[in-house]
């Protein structure tokens, strides 16, 4: 291998970078850009990259699809709720699996991995009537519980991997000082496991913010999330009001995209920890 890359090699490399960038961000960039275009420019060849930007689509979104902003708010509540719930219970379970070992615990850890094989749509069949009967249909609570539940097994595995790296001497010292199990988790483990908790949080946040299937089946009006409203817009506009659709997609996407880019390191750490062990 030569130390300084030759010219054809360099060109090949740049070409590779170009292809990767185009594939990954072009679709995103195009709708974000087109959300600032007038209807006339959206499908025009000449104004693909140069056009007179306008906020008309956003104004239309605001005035005609108030539902969408309500959906964003619902998405926000559900995302926060599911994340807090999933991270907390995963922390507790991850701690137990890291510090204790018994046949029963191992069997239950195996069960957690096994459960990931059950497709979400399968359990909607029995849950739908039960949720109705409990009056939980179209509530934030049902989405919070469902989203958290589908991520606690991955969350637990990731938390255990991270807590394994915290020296046991720390919790033993706290135990000698008379701290209870909960105090150890709260005072010793939690501050040191922040990295792992962030990794779990990234998964749950991205999932809960974007999820479609459960929102589609279990919510109708009061707890309707943003992706569901966008799907209604796809159905309603059918190739006509693309601009509004782009504006809505952009607003829904940008916060979570920024978040993923900021949390890149934790996302990668979580993905690898989760995939290797479970």
């Amino acid at each position: 291998m030569s130390k300084s890359p030759s010219l054809p090699r360099l060109i090949l490399k740049l070409l590779g970078v170009l292809v990767i960038v185009a594939w990954s961000v072009l679709p995103i960039a195009l709708i974000a850009m087109s959300s600032f275009k007038s209807d006339r420019d959206i499908f025009s060849l000449t104004s693909r990259f140069s056009f007179a930007p306008t906020l008309a689509n956003y104004e239309l979104l605001w005035s005609r699809w108030g539902d969408f902003f309500f959906g964003l708010w619902n998405s926000f509540i559900v995302t926060v709720g599911a994340t807090v719930l999933a991270v907390l219970v995963s922390l507790l379970a991850g701690f137990a699996y890291s510090r204790h070992a018994s046949k029963g615990l191992q069997a239950s850890a195996f069960f957690l991995i096994f459960i990931r094989l059950i497709p979400p749509i399968v359990i909607t069949l029995p849950l739908f009537p039960v949720v109705n009967w409990l009056g939980l249909n179209d509530t934030h609570l049902i989405l919070i519980v469902l989203y958290a539940t589908f991520f606690v097994s991955l969350g637990t595995i990731v938390m255990r991997t991270f807590i394994d790296q915290i020296p046991r001497e720390l919790d033993e010292a706290a135990m000698i000082d008379g701290a209870s199990q909960m105090q150890i988790v709260w005072r010793v483990i939690l501050p040191m496991a922040a990295q792992g908790m962030l990794a779990v949080a990234v998964f749950v946040i991205v999932y809960a913010w974007n999820e479609f299937l459960f929102a589609f089946i279990f919510t109708t009006t009061k707890a309707k999330t943003a992706p569901l409203v966008i799907s209604e817009m796809i159905g309603a506009v059918e190739g006509v009001e693309w601009g509004v659709l782009f504006a809505a997609s952009t607003v829904q996407l940008l916060p979570v995209l920024a978040f993923v880019i900021l949390m890149q390191k934790h996302l990668v750490a979580g993905l690898t920890a989760g995939a290797v062990k479970g």
């Binding site: 291998m1 970078v17 990767i20 960038v21 594939w23 990954s24 961000v25 679709p27 995103i28 195009l30 219970v89 379970a93 137990a96 070992a101 018994s102 029963g104 191992q106 239950s108 850890a109 195996f110 069960f111 991995i113 459960i115 094989l117 059950i118 497709p119 979400p120 749509i121 399968v122 359990i123 909607t124 069949l125 029995p126 739908f128 539940t149 589908f150 606690v152 097994s153 637990t156 974007n210 999820e211 479609f212 992706p227 966008i230 799907s231 796809i234 693309w242 782009f246 997609s249 829904q252 995209l257 978040f259 993923v260 880019i261 890149q264 996302l267 993905l271 690898t272 995939a275 290797v276």
Partner: protein, 291 residues
């Protein structure tokens, strides 16, 4: 390892186990019972044995959905792994602006299925979409995803690959980074070409990661619902349905809970079968070699 589980540990794993057991496991078992019964909304169930399975297996729409699912899963997962591998090798060979490029590659991970459908429909909109125009520029016919079933499934596959490539890439890239570089140095001293180095060093050492990524992607691609539902709705004329869409329609449109439940259990069984090898290995690792 002790035989008994301390009470404090039971309390700590309690919430997770209760959630998973109560909301996923018990309902899944209940689905099995449902699949053996004739039932619908507000109607008492009556035991019918395997009649629902017979009905589903005799339904041409089920077979169509099954074939579609298998094709899409096979195409999506294998192309994704190949692209993920190529990209991982490309990154490992040294790229300019690595951190920024990594963020760019991860970007689709943040995109919802709904927004992805908006993006790709815009790109492939007949006559006016950017990709449609490029296709016609090089003399290829447009993708008529709303009319031709194969084109619909092509769009669904494209969308799935785009959304999930970051996952496969990260798993493979992380494994590639953990290969010690002295192995390549030793190979170079022995005069190995880069192709030999790839075949003898890289590929064997990446195999476990490739298998794990493949397994996860098989299982998750098998549940494919949103992309199909939002892109084609299973149409035209029920030709692009996949198993999850078939299940949804049986249950929530045709009110046939029994056959929906039977489809559900076939889905679960297929997942278990796909993962059997992995579960067995994991079980051995966890409970010792004697099992």
């Amino acid at each position: 390892m002790t035989a008994r589980t301390p009470l404090s540990a039971i309390a700590l794993v309690g919430p997770v186990q209760l959630m998973v057991g109560g909301i996923i496991f018990l309902p899944a078992i209940y689905v099995f019972w449902l699949s053996l019964n004739q039932s619908s909304f507000g109607q008492a169930a009556s035991f019918v044995g395997l009649a629902n399975y017979a009905k589903v297996l005799g339904d041409p729409y089920f077979w169509r959905a099954l074939v579609n699912t298998v094709i899409v899963v096979a195409v999506v997962v294998h192309i994704e792994l190949l692209l993920g591998l190529l990209m991982a090798l490309f990154f490992a060979s040294g790229v300019p602006f690595r951190p920024i490029l990594l963020a760019i590659v991860l970007a689709p991970y943040a995109v919802s299925e709904v927004s992805a459908v908006v993006m790709w429909r815009y790109l492939f909109e007949p006559d006016v979409g950017m990709m449609s125009q490029m296709l016609s520029f090089v003399g290829l016919p447009p993708i008529e995803w709303a009319v031709k079933p194969n084109h619909g499934l092509f769009m669904v596959s494209l969308l799935s690959i785009w959304l999930h490539l970051p996952f496969s890439f990260i798993i493979i890239y992380a494994a590639r980074l953990s290969i010690p570089s002295d192995l390549y140095e030793a190979g170079a001293i022995d005069g190995a070409s880069s192709w030999t180095a790839f075949r003898r060093i890289t590929l064997p050492l990446l195999m476990p990661a490739l298998l794990i990524a493949a397994l996860f992607r098989y299982i998750f691609a098998f549940r494919l619902f949103s992309e199909v539902w939002l892109m084609t709705g299973g149409g035209p004329a029920r030709t692009t349905e996949v198993l999850a869409v078939y299940l949804y329609l049986e249950a929530f449109r045709y009110n046939a809970f029994g056959s929906a439940a039977a489809t559900g259990w076939l889905l679960v069984l297929a997942s278990l079968l796909l993962a059997l090898f992995y579960l067995r290995r994991l079980y051995r690792e966890m409970f010792g070699k004697h099992v």
